[in-house]
């Protein structure tokens, strides 16, 4: 065991402050498999699509998992979207509809992509 060096202890303790790590995408597995309902964009209602400009983007701003892109149109990353529905609630024009996963076509595909790890 290394002998106690108080100066070093002080120094390193100040180097390890709050946890602000640059996590890698997918570090906690494909969390999209937790989803039971998924957001689906209705482009005719979306302000971003209609204006053709990065205007509203409330879905991008409010998504707690950063799974909505700030693009035209906004795109959902279904690998990591947990289906919380905050984007649908925040959307001022109701352009996002939450659809039950069993009715969505690519549900089985998502689980298969995640290596069948649906319980994670």
């Amino acid at each position: 065991m290394t002998p106690r060096n108080e100066q070093y202890e002080r120094w390193i303790a100040q180097k390890i402050l709050a946890a602000r790590q640059t996590t890698t995408i997918g570090e906690a597995g494909k969390t999209g498999t937790w989803r039971t309902i998924r957001p689906v964009l209705i482009p005719e209602k979306c302000l971003v699509v209609k204006s053709g400009k990065p205007t509203c983007h409330k879905c991008w701003l409010y998504c707690p998992e950063a799974t909505v892109s700030r693009s035209i149109p906004p795109v959902f990353d279904y690998d990591y979207c947990k289906g919380c529905g905050i984007c649908a609630t925040e959307c001022p024009t109701e352009a996002i509809q939450m659809v039950p996963e069993k009715e969505a076509p690519s549900c089985a595909e998502t689980i298969a992509n995640a290596g069948g790890n649906a319980d994670a």
Binding site: Q14, K15, A19, T22
Partner: protein
Amino acid sequence: MPEKLVITGNFAAAYACKSANVDVVAAYPITPQSPVVEKISEFVESGEMPDTQFICVESEHSAMAACVGAAEAGARVFTASSANGLALMFELLCWCAGARLPAVVCIASRALGAPWTVWTDHQDAISMRDTGFMHQFCETNQEIYDSVLMAYRIAEDPRVFLPMFVTYDGYLLSHTMMPVQIEDPEKVRDFLPPLKTHVDVGELGETRSVSAVIPPDITVRPEGNTPGYMEYRYAMQKAHEYAIDVIEEVNREFKVKFGRSYGNGIYTSYKIEDADILIFGIGSVASQSRMAVDQLRSEGIKAGLISLKLFRPFPVKHLREIFTRVPLVVVFDRDVAYGYEGVLAYELKAALYPCQNRPIIRSYIVGLGGRNIPTDTLTKAVKRAIKEKDDSSVQLDPHTDFLDLDLDRLGLSIEDMQKEAQ
């Protein structure tokens, strides 16, 4: 110009917030803390705190959550609570400390329900012990004002970066008026410059993740290995240990700047120079013990008082130095670690255990749920401790002494018990 106002403890806390030019206040009212929030909202509404954002929330949990969020973005934050409201805050208090956010939280202390009560004791504040917050207690309204200012200086020191509680007794201070000197804003700003956090707001938009899931072990990353949970918690414990120096330093600097100080910033003492017996207490219990010391001295008993100001980090070194000078220490706790004994008592015992000249420590529970603590009760208890000092059957008996229980008046006598047994 500094102004002298006659105000309650709650208002002293609110004025301290104003002097500290706090950026974000989010609080939810609960007796006896409510006037703090009311006064701050008044300041904000009238434009006296133009830089402060007051967030109305639906609970204490949300209040602290809002403070955590604001502090993560680099703001100086404040909230206050009491008892069950404080208990509701618990999760976010742990979060605040773990994320190393320099928040200041005032506690107008009050007993915890059930049974439902609004009167004071220290149970709520003491129960927040292991959140990771630093913790100061106050004895006067001026001390509340000063302690909040000092708390920000300590919490925001780059060597510390930990949040801090400033606790004062509900009603006894929170609703009692005393003269309080409110300092000149310029002078306060000089003592307490705007917060420079460890948070680089610019990086928040990047892929940086704030307080993400941290695995047990070091994570190997291309940009450099990152700490595991245990390394973060080690750093937090070390910050507590090193904070004691900073606290003493800030107390000294405060004295130079404003002419007031509170002992060494760790504890205040009363007539300890020639004392054979030391009383140990916090807040209102310590205030009342000053009277007890005087009364005991008038009867020829050389008593003294150590009023603990800094509860966390627990100042083990300071306490060892002072308490190994006497053969007997009497601890009055206005709290109980249920299933064991008074918290101050057992923490002091643990602190002194490795010392050669450790004193006999006698512990008493007083004033739970706002029960009055008369000076006589304290002096009698000290005299009993003196009498039983060398009685090993008393010292070895694991029991708690509740002072001023009034069981007789319940109309249930020993005779009644015997009758029932027949």
